[in-house]
Point group: C2
């Protein structure tokens, strides 16, 4: 005898969710939140795909991994799909984040509204610079980096955001990992080495610019004249609004 929940568990374990799908779920979520704010109750796969900048076949396949198939002629129920994606991504619980490095970028991240609205609670800010330690930023007092391990333990930090200069990043990373943190978001312009079982994602703010440069060049006719984009990755009429979709 198996319960429905056990069945679902088994199904999911057999099926897994492709990394590329996981990376697109936040983009769907952002589009759905926008619809929700405008009071939209249901959405077709075509509309949602256009808003997220993918084609609708890919969208339907991605959502099928969550067991969400929509209703023919009606589409997807926005509120329920927001719940399903949030649940799958783990956003129905709170995640405690510490930001290490309080330069301009650290300050921008500390005040970034997009974190709190997705369940990421910034518990603390840390810096090595005595002229920054003690400052009030976005309602938090910057603590000295010496307090890193203590802060992680005290607040149950599960994600460390590293926004230090490149030279300091690996040392900070080693310390947060030693303190038990297994997820690191790296804004420092360097590659971090971590042991198995620790996830690092690196943000490179110039990547989107490089993709824009490709399109600019194509519009201008270079390097080998305008080449058509391969159809199928963007629905017609949405090329002017390309959402960043990670895969």
């Amino acid at each position: 005898m198996t319960t429905p929940r056990q069945n679902r568990r088994r199904e999911r374990a057999a099926r897994g969710i492709p990394e590329a799908t996981v990376a697109r779920l936040p983009v769907y979520l952002r589009a759905l939140t926008g619809l929700q704010e405008r009071g939209v109750a249901t959405v077709s796969s075509e509309e949602l795909a256009a808003a997220a900048g993918v084609n609708s076949a890919k969208l339907r396949k991605d959502l099928s991994h969550l067991g969400s198939y929509g209703t023919r002629g009606v589409g997807y129920e926005v509120e329920y799909l927001v719940y399903q994606i949030s649940r799958e991504l783990g956003l129905t619980q709170d995640w405690v984040v510490a930001i290490i490095g309080v330069g301009n970028l650290g300050r921008a991240l500390a005040g970034y509204g997009g974190f709190a609205s997705r369940g990421f609670r910034v518990a603390g800010l840390l810096d090595a610079d005595d002229s920054i330690v003690g400052q009030e930023i976005s309602g938090m007092t910057v603590e000295h980096i010496d307090r890193l391990e203590d802060m992680i333990a005290r607040h149950g930090v599960s994600i460390a955001v590293i926004a230090t200069p490149a030279g300091a990043a690996q040392g900070v990373c080693d310390r947060v990992v030693a303190a038990g943190v297994t997820s690191v978001l790296n804004f420092a312009p360097t590659v971090l080495t971590v042991p198995d079982g620790v996830d690092v994602r690196k943000v490179d703010l110039s990547i989107e610019l490089q993709i824009l440069a490709f399109h600019e060049q194509r519009k201008a006719g270079g390097p080998d004249g305008p080449a058509p984009l391969v159809a199928g990755d963007a629905p017609p009429g949405t090329k002017q609004y390309v959402e960043p979709v990670e895969a």
Copy 2:
């Protein structure tokens, strides 16, 4: 009679480059630049794929769109591949960028080394706040937003980076588009509407955090217990280092 260049042009036009490949080229470029800095002259597709966080079959297919196939038993020549990708992305020429909105994020972007090293030259900073206008930031003087059209014309700005509050972003976007800019990088937490022929890419700094949350949840056993990732998207032994790859 056709010249080899015409042939290449025709081939590329027939073939196109998939959007997903375009989005991964900057990630390969970053990995290759890292190899170059360490003095590595050739790299196997497996090594490069691992450094970029994709599987090697996908890497080889992506690079084949550039006409780059590597040499069996030797791999790819790092320097030449850097050139090929840079050329394809349009990074062998300079792009002039203006940053509009000089809060913490705008300041962070103004001083971001990753732009200049990829051929993005920040020509100017603009803000509507009189207490910010006139400040020196990263060697530039912040100009009043009234000077926007003038600055675009004067410097030949081709990419506008919008780092204003959400409420101001669409108005700024309309103005840069009216002034002839056809590429917009949007950091404001809002969706921008643009006419056909204008590319907008939106950066959401919380997307990477959401992907980390998914993995944290999986490590913790929820929502339905740890599910295996589908094999094939990440080479073995690289799961601990997941590069953001846009698709």
